[in-house]
Homo-oligomer: 283 residues x 2
């Protein structure tokens, strides 16, 4: 049996009772390292906190291991109880559909334990979840690679008056230039996109495309460490949010569409000019 | 302090450790009765299961109580630790933004404990969450009231190739005809919309509007008791799904947009012709 268990967003205590019971039943416990270390602000000592809570040793599975080693994990799961831990919900921002699909193909039973993900937790800012359009991803621009397909999607959402959730790029275990040149495995340090960088890239694309989809006066909501005790939620124009120090990862951004009065009242509580309120840690 | 705590989707064990700890800290515990009894399939004995798990007495708060008694709850929360329990995520399909807003206005501190909601748990069917358009609600049609604003929204989503999550109506504590006539408080028995009814209403509107937004051959995914041990997930055409007995509430429906190969492969596992697979309880 393969258990795919969502850990939620904040810290080790966001696991559900059902998830914890499943882990305790398991012979082997893998944890997705792709986003989890960053999300939970985990150091190696943080990992041992989890191991203590779970009463199990955790094997960190990076993206390479999941992609290349999936068959080995599934072979184990055909004989033992194997847990695969995922930050957020198993089918949230980062999808694990591929692992489930492979499991189903080889006849390994799968149980999913759901949890909160960015997709629903952004609701905390007061914008109605059913008034979001398609979600977009903002990738890190490089000198030569500046993909802007998010622009069309934001344009469509805004023409319908809908809010747009922007997921910001995370780069973990990117092969270093040295690695590519010399054929030797070494990696760049992990990088996560800040709200500041996301807004700069958004405005750069608007300037190039010039279809007036949004501007530096467009109202947005910036989120940092969503769902954790020290989360930060700030609303304001792109120009204003670009100046805000949101601190440690992870960040995401919502571009606000047409708003109802109740949505506007909630956004005022998070306005950049006021004290930077946070639902999770009110001062 | 007001704690607004998501209970997740399945049963009492879907609460998070953080949520459980918060409840144990509280002097008073309210639970939203609006959808919770139906979602968790709770009888009065089920409620005592929850009370045992939490070690606290639970006060059921129906919609009337939340709307009319919010000030009283907030007054308590200004002095005591008060928990308000919500099925799913506090900001999921049913929003509690109004209660948060009122709390902020009167200066009551709020802490939110997130959990899974329908909005992310539908990801289990393999359709990518970022490829959903605006969510729609399908209300029960009556003789004289047949609102079809969902049709425009589905049309826009489909023109963009996006999936559409349809939330199906729940009627709890509707005043009975007798109540309206005689001015005496009595209520209709609770009703929840089945996938069959939703599809009939969808097809009726298509027939009237005749803009070929969808047809009885359009592919959908039906979900019953999403996130619970005995959840049911079936994909097929509207015509096929209309014939499926999805059993006890709650139901919801996704109208499938353009699909990627991996999405198609996952949908095949849930196809109506095959054995009705369920991730949560594989046979």
């Amino acid at each position: 049996m393969l258990y795919i268990i969502g850990l939620g967003l904040g810290d080790e205590n966001d696991i559900t009772l059902k998830g914890l019971e499943a882990i305790k039943r398991c012979d082997k416990v893998y944890m997705e390292a792709y986003t989890s270390l960053l999300s939970f602000g985990l150091s190696p000592s943080g990992l041992s906190t989890l191991e203590e809570l779970y009463g199990k040793q955790i094997i960190l599975a990076d993206r390479e291991m999941v992609e290349e080693g999936a068959d080995a994990i599934l072979l184990e799961a055909s004989k033992l109880h194997v847990a695969f831990l995922v930050v957020g919900d198993p089918f949230g921002a980062t999808t694990h559909a591929d692992l489930v699909l492979r499991a189903k193909k080889v006849g390994v039973e799968v149980q999913v334990v759901h949890n909160a993900s960015v997709v629903n937790a952004v609701g905390v800012c007061g914008l109605q979840l059913y008034r979001y359009g398609e979600t977009v991803s903002i990738p890190f621009f490089t000198e030569t690679w500046r993909p802007d397909s998010f622009y069309e999607k934001i344009k469509r959402n805004r023409s319908l008056g809908l809010h747009t959730l922007c997921l910001l790029d995370i780069r973990v275990k990117e092969p270093s230039l040295e690695s590519l040149c010399r054929g030797k495995k070494s990696y760049e340090p992990p990088r996560f996109m800040t709200i500041e960088t996301a807004i700069e890239q958004l405005l750069e694309v608007e300037q190039l495309r010039a279809e007036s989809v949004y501007s530096e006066d467009s109202i947005c909501v910036g989120f940092a460490r969503l769902g954790s005790e020290n989360q930060m939620v700030v609303s304001g124009s792109m120009k204003q949010l670009r100046e805000v120090d949101f601190g440690a990862p992870l960040h995401c951004l919502v571009i606000v569409g047409e708003t109802h009065p109740m949505e506007e009242e909630m956004l005022e509580f998070y306005a950049v000019k006021e004290k930077r309120a946070s639902l999770a840690s009110p001062e």
